[in-house]
Symmetry: C2
Subunit: 325 residues, 2 copies
Amino acid sequence: MSSSTKEATRSGEFDLIARFFAPLAAPGALGLRDDAALVTPSPGCELVVTSDTVIAGVHFREDDAADLIAKKALRVNLSDLAAKGAKPIGFLHALTLNRGVTDAWLELYAQGLKQDILAYGAPLLGGDTTMSPGPVTITITALGEVPAGAALLRSGAKPGDTVYVTGTIGDSALGLACLAGDLLLPRAERAALTDRYHLPRPRCAAGVALRGIAGAALDISDGLVADLGHMAAASNAAIAIDRDAVPLSAVARKAVTNDPRLWEKILAGGDDYEIAFTAPDGVDAGRAATDVPLTAIGKVTAGAGVTVMANGVPVVLASRGYRHR
Amino acid sequence: MSSSTKEATRSGEFDLIARFFAPLAAPGALGLRDDAALVTPSPGCELVVTSDTVIAGVHFREDDAADLIAKKALRVNLSDLAAKGAKPIGFLHALTLNRGVTDAWLELYAQGLKQDILAYGAPLLGGDTTMSPGPVTITITALGEVPAGAALLRSGAKPGDTVYVTGTIGDSALGLACLAGDLLLPRAERAALTDRYHLPRPRCAAGVALRGIAGAALDISDGLVADLGHMAAASNAAIAIDRDAVPLSAVARKAVTNDPRLWEKILAGGDDYEIAFTAPDGVDAGRAATDVPLTAIGKVTAGAGVTVMANGVPVVLASRGYRHR
């Protein structure tokens, strides 16, 4: 677009695209020289589309490494696809830079993006590069596909179902607490937790494996309790979980044993990017062939809302997880 | 996502989505209560996907009316689909707000978006709402479909082809000059031009009608000469146009007759959102059943670059159109 008020900058958009992003482009992306990309979904599949924006100083720390920022921006979108049971097709990448961004930053950013494009089989289809006086802002729109009718939704939880989660919960929130100086741990433990904060592991294979098994599913981004609340609301049901059944990493287990107040962060902190799902009464979802452990943490009941029980008593959480603002 | 550095604000993301955007959602958008939307493309079709970001103070004027901002943000994406010969399927809407945005602004914005959703048959599929300390930033990702193999590309221009444009060129750039105080015109003439600047008319029907006729196509956003340069480069060919064949509105014709220096803005100013395309030698594309006039303005030749001729002499342009920065 043209405008009288454009920011001048070091490199033109075409130079940036050609230099850093064109080498990452998929064949359908037309070398990023066109205004749009062509994609052919597999026959009989539905498309799943999702879009997430991350902003410097809001969703990531301004001094986070550029390759980690790129990877997290992509992975939070791949996590949304995973929770739908969808296989990635590719993504569009809208990158808003400012004058403070150096070529070295961009090079590291593109390197991180390339590594994840290969790791997740999610090619770059296109996008837009713009300059702003504001913070670096990244909007990624991911496209995936799922056999028609097989997508996992938030709304399928039914009373009697068992509630499961993939992997472990709370590492990322504890990692952020370490970065913020609120949690002091030995170096190796700290590194294990901050790594989970910087680098979500979207559960792509697990999501596909749960097609036909899970009744409802979502990825945990706002916090376990908050996201189970979204599932309960979308399903017109209640969910009750047993705090002591929630799977923790060894590092998180040790930390919360030393300081039980950390349960709050574990249950409400968010950024887990694990999948929470329900399986119908009688289905042992724990035996699904996933590449990550599945743990039963509770049940769906009639009613509304989420209850967390510990030692037979309801736990009251000060916050119910990150509320989008 | 969770973070320690979130901005506090007046309304939560869920409130904003529920109040302003959920009423606009398509059925596949799952009421915007899910993290992803489901879309079923028509059998035998390829998907066309495109993403464009617009930023307050950069791509639109901060005091532009909110409904016009919404419409322009959507229409520049629909214009990309149109130039590919694609029919819109819908769009994802990533909206980054700041504390300066009022509910009244959002209401007008959502109203504008709704009008265009209906006008263009492009439903809202999903998106993300975030808060930033920076300027209002809108990234729209539009999805369209086209029968497999029928998409129009930039790269199909061949020596001997005729070059055409839809509609009229330069109105938008002259409208921006009016808004910037660089061009003084009577009120009605000014209004006709600024309206073209604020409200692109994506040539959706013309794009579909040109399937099978156009060899190469693109939408004119950076300026007629710059965009023909992109087409020439993608096609490994040269393009020569006759300045006096370029179709102008009556208002633009009068303005440039009074001040021939305005040719520069007309040819290089951009924001036209008309389609430029080529048709093979012997095909009278001017007879294609489009809802907008088609005008032959030049020829494709062997070589490289774009030449503008006027009265048999090459015209030298000071700028070659907006260069993305």
